[in-house]
Symmetry: C2
Subunit: 795 residues, 2 copies
């Protein structure tokens, strides 16, 4: 076990690491050449077009003002300058509420840390069981400050119990206030939004097939009949998978063409040629640029034909549609009610924002959804508890003996001592490292298979899965040694009262481990987040090889967005650690406080200067955050009960059993009180906005506004093709953003880190959108990322 000295050393190393990152960041961020990496948000907003202090030629790349080098923590006060309202306007409500989680952490844990350190540490130290034992044992200094130091059956445990009560009430009080605040922020935000397509639209799924009648007619007649006064129009959803494949192929060719043209521009003396056969290995040698140009031309023809076919073929219309209403009230009613006598048909739901839709999942039928959810929940269970099995298998293959057996010719190389020791240290961990690296992707794919239709929902579901993984494998896995599978096995064979005891008794012993974890993952990890090393490298690589025009440069910046599927679960883990250790080993709390405050600064800076959210869910993730903090409270209460029962403070159990019941009741109350604000759509609200609209602008043509808001984005992608058939009026391409937020966060976001080879982009002229566009947003780049089926807009 680590002593206080060990922890000091570890802290010093991590603090140094964090400082190194911060220093590097401070140096890099003021270089004009990196401006687009560290301040992309401002470029996207149109507030900045070129780096500041760009003087002479050298000044364009390197910052020559040496004074600025001295203020290397200057970004921190800068990050605090914006008010919350400004952040909401600047980056959206999601980001603003995300930052509030850190503040909530500070609000919860600062008083908790003060009280715990002042009250519990003296109590723990004074009892001194471990002082007596210390002559024989190497006693962890931190244990002297923890509950382990209190004698069994001591009356002093009532301090701990009353602290647990106090902390629970304090946490619940703050959670209640915060939920209230976030809910009202959400309602205010939604109320302040301008006219948006999703306010009037409902996603209808599982449209039944009526023979001899097209889906469109079917939708039309159903809603004309059942919502006669409110139905306006609808947009069918086309199955564009084959078309998307062709578009992908075209993108590939276009990239090659670009590459060849670029090469040619740089070396006009050298004509590039290419063989037409397989992989360019044989066949006739032709001019590359001509070849690709011709290929693209051919493909464009096929695309046009395919497009026509899709639009004409009734089979390509999927059993889903976006139905629009003439008032928000009508849409709110349709979204919340059951339409058909058969509850599995005509399923209605609020339409997500157009840019938030995950198109691929729109056509999944109801029955398939049930099966998918079942399979995925089993798969997640297996992943959480049994993930070590395949990894261990791969590890067993990937040891040196296995490698020699598979590839005997490598033996001479492997037998070299240096290489052998390197491989022996490296190989077994490799499989695990790769797995952990791709885990978020795996979880996201699982969520996609489950069939959710909005990117925001997908991210929330992936976050939930990641949290379970962390809870079992990081939290429980660190406390009880052994794999998750072994834990599961022992849980099944232990009684309901024994489990919290087994875990509870190990809790104080693992405090030092978690302190180190917080420093490595929380302190140094967050510091590396602000440095943005990967985007930095990629941006400069792109800049060197790909960027030709200013627009390309804009595209090359990869602002990214708050990575909810990863950040939310790890944030929730810190809440769990704080709540569990608050009573047991309060010395852990200051470390968590440092994390919360530091991460708050960093993410505030990133939200203001870097991130560009792909969608706006209006803080739809909050109920999950709330529920998981409540879950953490419950875990902390159960574990304390388990711990105290091993301390023979048996009489304390009845005192503590009240807490989980109260906590659960509180959760249920909050759920009833606040959650509908995140899930449902009050008619009062809709009616208010309808009335407001009617009073202010009575002559708006709503139908044309909604006409192609929900057209599959792939059909937007050909400017040259006449879009009359699908009712698209080019002059009226709707903006997916609200008009009220000054500069909505729309942006290119590549799924992968590589240069955007798969991304096709077409430029529309000044769109002159009737409702939302400001004049300064003069370029509208539409981009469809075929891999992810996200449609992302780009100004």
């Amino acid at each position: 076990m680590a002593t206080l000295g060990d922890i000091g050393v570890s802290a010093a190393i991590n603090i140094l690491g964090a400082f190194a990152f911060l220093l590097a960041f401070a140096l890099l961020r003021i270089q004009p050449i990196n401006d687009r990496v560290y301040f992309p948000k401002w470029y996207i907003n149109g507030k900045r077009t070129s780096a500041r202090n760009a003087g002479n030629f050298v000044g364009k790349f390197v910052n020559l003002k040496f004074k600025t080098y001295l203020t290397f923590l200057h970004w921190m006060p800068q990050a605090l300058k914006m008010s919350e309202a400004e952040i909401i306007a600047h980056a959206g409500l999601d980001s603003a509420v995300f930052l509030r989680i850190y503040i909530l952490g500070l609000k919860i844990f600062v008083p908790m840390a003060v009280v715990a350190l002042v009250v519990l540490i003296p109590v723990n130290v004074s009892d001194g069981t471990l002082f007596a034992l210390s002559k024989d044992l190497v006693v962890n200094n931190i244990d002297k400050l923890s509950i382990s130091n209190v004698r069994s059956k001591s009356i002093k445990f009532f301090f701990h119990i009353s602290m647990q009560y106090l902390f629970t009430f304090w946490t619940c009080y703050l959670l209640y206030k915060e939920y209230d605040r976030v809910a009202s922020m959400r309602l205010k935000f939604l109320a302040s939004q301008g006219r948006r397509a999703e306010q009037f639209s409902v996603l209808v799924r599982n449209i039944p097939h009526v023979s001899g009648r097209s889906t469109s007619d079917n939708v039309e007649s159903f809603f004309r009949k059942n919502h006669p006064e409110h139905y306006l129009c609808h947009q069918a959803v086309y199955n564009a998978n084959k078309f998307a494949k062709l578009v992908r192929k075209r993108n590939r060719l276009q990239n090659w063409l670009d590459y060849n043209q670029l090469k040619f521009e740089r070396h006009p003396e050298k004509r590039l040629t290419k063989k037409t056969g397989f992989l360019g290995l044989w066949g006739e040698r032709v001019d590359s640029i001509d070849f690709y140009k011709q290929q693209i031309k051919q493909l464009d023809k096929r695309l046009t034909m395919e497009r026509q076919e899709i639009l004409k073929d009734p089979k390509s219309i999927m059993s889903a549609a976006f139905v629009s209403f003439n008032s928000r009230w009508g849409a709110a009613v349709c979204a919340q009610t059951q339409q058909s006598k058969n509850p599995t048909l005509w399923l209605t739901n609020w339409a997500p924002e157009p840019r938030d839709i995950y198109w691929k999942n729109l056509a999944i039928p109801f029955f398939s959804l049930s099966i998918r959810r079942l399979i995925i929940s089993l798969a997640v269970f297996a992943l959480v508890f049994f993930y070590m099995i395949p990894i261990a298998f791969v590890q067993s293959l990937a040891n040196l003996d296995g490698l020699e057996r598979v590839a005997p010719f490598l033996r001479p190389v492997i037998e070299l001592k240096f290489i052998k020791s390197f491989l022996q240290g490296f190989l077994p961990g490799l499989a695990l490292k790769i797995f952990l690296y791709i885990l978020p992707t795996i979880l996201m794919i699982m969520s996609k298979v489950e069939g959710y239709v909005a990117v925001s929902t997908l991210e929330r579901k992936a976050a939930a899965k990641y949290y379970y993984f962390m809870l079992v494998n990081v939290f429980l896995g660190s406390i009880i040694t052994g794999t998750a599978f072994q834990q599961l096995h022992s849980f099944l064979h232990e009684s309901a009262t024994q489990i919290p005891r087994t875990i509870g008794v190990s809790i104080p012993m693992k405090a030092t481990f978690f302190i180190t974890y917080i420093m490595v993952d929380g302190w140094a990890g967050i510091a590396s987040e602000i440095l943005r090393l990967k985007p930095l490298v990629i941006y400069h690589l792109k800049n060197m090889f790909i960027v030709k025009t200013e627009r390309d440069r804009v595209k090359a910046m990869d602002p990214g967005s708050v990575d909810f599927p990863e950040t939310l679960p790890s944030l929730q883990l810190y809440f769990l650690l704080g709540l569990v250790y608050a009573v047991v080993t309060p010395i852990l709390l200051p470390f968590i406080l440092v994390f919360f405050s530091f991460a708050y600064f960093v993410y505030r800076h990133q939200v203001i200067n870097v991130y560009n959210q792909q969608y706006e869910s209006a803080a739809a993730f909050w109920p999950h955050v709330h529920a998981r903090i409540i879950g953490s409270l419950l875990i902390s209460q159960l574990l304390l009960m388990g711990l105290l029962s091993t301390k023979k403070a048996a009489k304390s159990t009845p005192l503590l059993i009240v807490l989980p019941v109260l906590t659960l009741a509180f959760h249920k109350y909050c759920k009833n009180r606040f959650e509908p604000a995140f899930r449902k759509h009050p008619l009062e609200e809709a009616m208010d906005k309808d009335i407001e609209d009617r009073l202010s602008e009575s002559d708006v043509n709503l139908k044309s506004f909604l006409a192609d808001a929900y057209l599959h984005p792939i059909f937007h992608s050909f400017e040259e093709v006449e879009l009359v058939e699908v009712g698209v009026d080019k002059a009226r391409i709707p903006s997916p953003s609200g008009s009220s937020s000054p500069s909505p966060p729309h942006d290119v976001r590549d799924e992968e880190d590589g240069p955007s080879h798969n991304v096709q982009h077409y430029e529309y002229g000044p769109p002159g959108n009737v409702y939302q566009y400001e004049a300064e947003q003069s370029s509208y780049v539409y981009q469809y990322d075929i891999e992810s089926h996200h449609n992302v807009y780009h100004y």
Copy 2:
């Protein structure tokens, strides 16, 4: 342990008992004097006004046709004569679907019994572990036919596992078909109903208080704004508790007056007098009839004043209202959507039928509801697991020593040997018997405290609580000896895998106990149900002492209704027993089959001839029935897993673990597929009926139809008072029943078994209801049972 012979004896006793009941029933039912006890439904329907074969004076009381005595099972074919559609029309959908549960039991268990007896009994017998052991042990013969007889580690367990699979799939298949059928029956039934107040009305609760504005105005303006095209009118809910108290007092006085007048009529020579003081013990002696008449007159004045006060005082208007819409579509929309930004205000729900409303609970605010639910769920938990503690305490007090200590003067009596032995055998069981007798009442009170607003919901919730009690205390309590509290303790200290093992291993040993239970509770119990001994005695007592007019005689018949809070849970227990023992001890199945078929006959007879449902919920209980049969399946699977793991058939566990997962998935699918039909109200349905209405009768004044449908029933009770203020038009008292069912089941139902002293009854003239009334229903007796706050109608 009982041998086959013992079971035979027990069976013989119970069969004899059942036959005795049936014989008594056969004799009693054909006596004209009992006609109103055994065929009240026909009197209520107006299909019969006096007993058949009423010839001479004696023939009015005793059946003199001896031929009819010979056909004492004649009621059975008679009970089968009605088709299901006729039963729905005659007794409502609730009763028809209730009967279907028995048919479902037969459908599930007949093929199961055949397969299990043919396949498993030979398998069990052939292995013969117990044959070998039988020389030493007194072996239960039934055990030889059960799974206990199979050797450990035997390959033959795969027969049992495959049977479990087969039975699970068979049960799920039938459950699916039945859910589908019941759901479509429900929709058809609802669609076939005529215009009813509840189709147009929504119950709004938690109306916020706006200062300087009455609740009525508040409701009016809110719905006028948010449902401008659909809002029609609303009916405030008055707090009539004080008024109800006065009405109760008046009823008491009226009863005394009736009693005195009756006495006077019989003995006109003797004037009755009464002292005015406390309990009639002292004070001035006055003429009784005059005294009561005067008292009632005074009270009537106070009642009139109180009524005026309630209607005028804004404080007596509760924060709930019944809001009516001009179309079913408007009501369906309002009931399913969230109205207010604050999700705890303006809570809307479908209004129950007027006669189904439990008025007392209408004013409970949202916050209080959360607390109440929490407290009651804790109370139910305590009741289920710890009910033995207070009973044991009472028992310890109620033993002879305790009695002697409390009342030493009784010692000489108690010391008598005969009385002593009687008391010793009697007293300890008394507390438990009293508790079990009043248990359904306790559970109903608990449900009422929880705050549900419909009687049908209250009964379903009470049924759920009763089921948990039975599951823990009858099923588990019989398998694992010891109190429920001890079970809970051992469950908490056993591992998750150990619990099914502990229970599973005792399962085969308890088969004989459950066979006896089925015979006593199922066979003889059901036979006693048909005899209706209590209503028979009460009817004749009432007939002797109270009945003066024909109307009194109608009131004296107590048809009762299907007692869902008790019958549904016990029915579900039989499903549980059948499913658990199907694989383990298949010999139990024939006993269950006898129960299902016999109970089917009996309840069919009762539904046709006796019961008169108080409300019609259109089979709203079905999802609970379905869910509990699924629960029984899960329990049977887990217990089989536990049992097999003790038989060291360890490899079988992975084979069986698939089943609960599949069963749960099936349940989830069914829930999504069918449950909305029981909980939600499709707009398509509402629109269809609206259109139908518009086409057929366009000039109906809906507003006057709905005007006082939802007036608190207590205000209906004074004919003499002008009801103009509350908008009641006497000519248009709405019928609570549909027009399509030929004779809807409205009826007096006294909560208690005593003569209806607390029931006040006023007669209205021929109501001539504009929509539903047939001419033959010439008397409309309105009756308000103040104890239960049920309003019951009476034709």
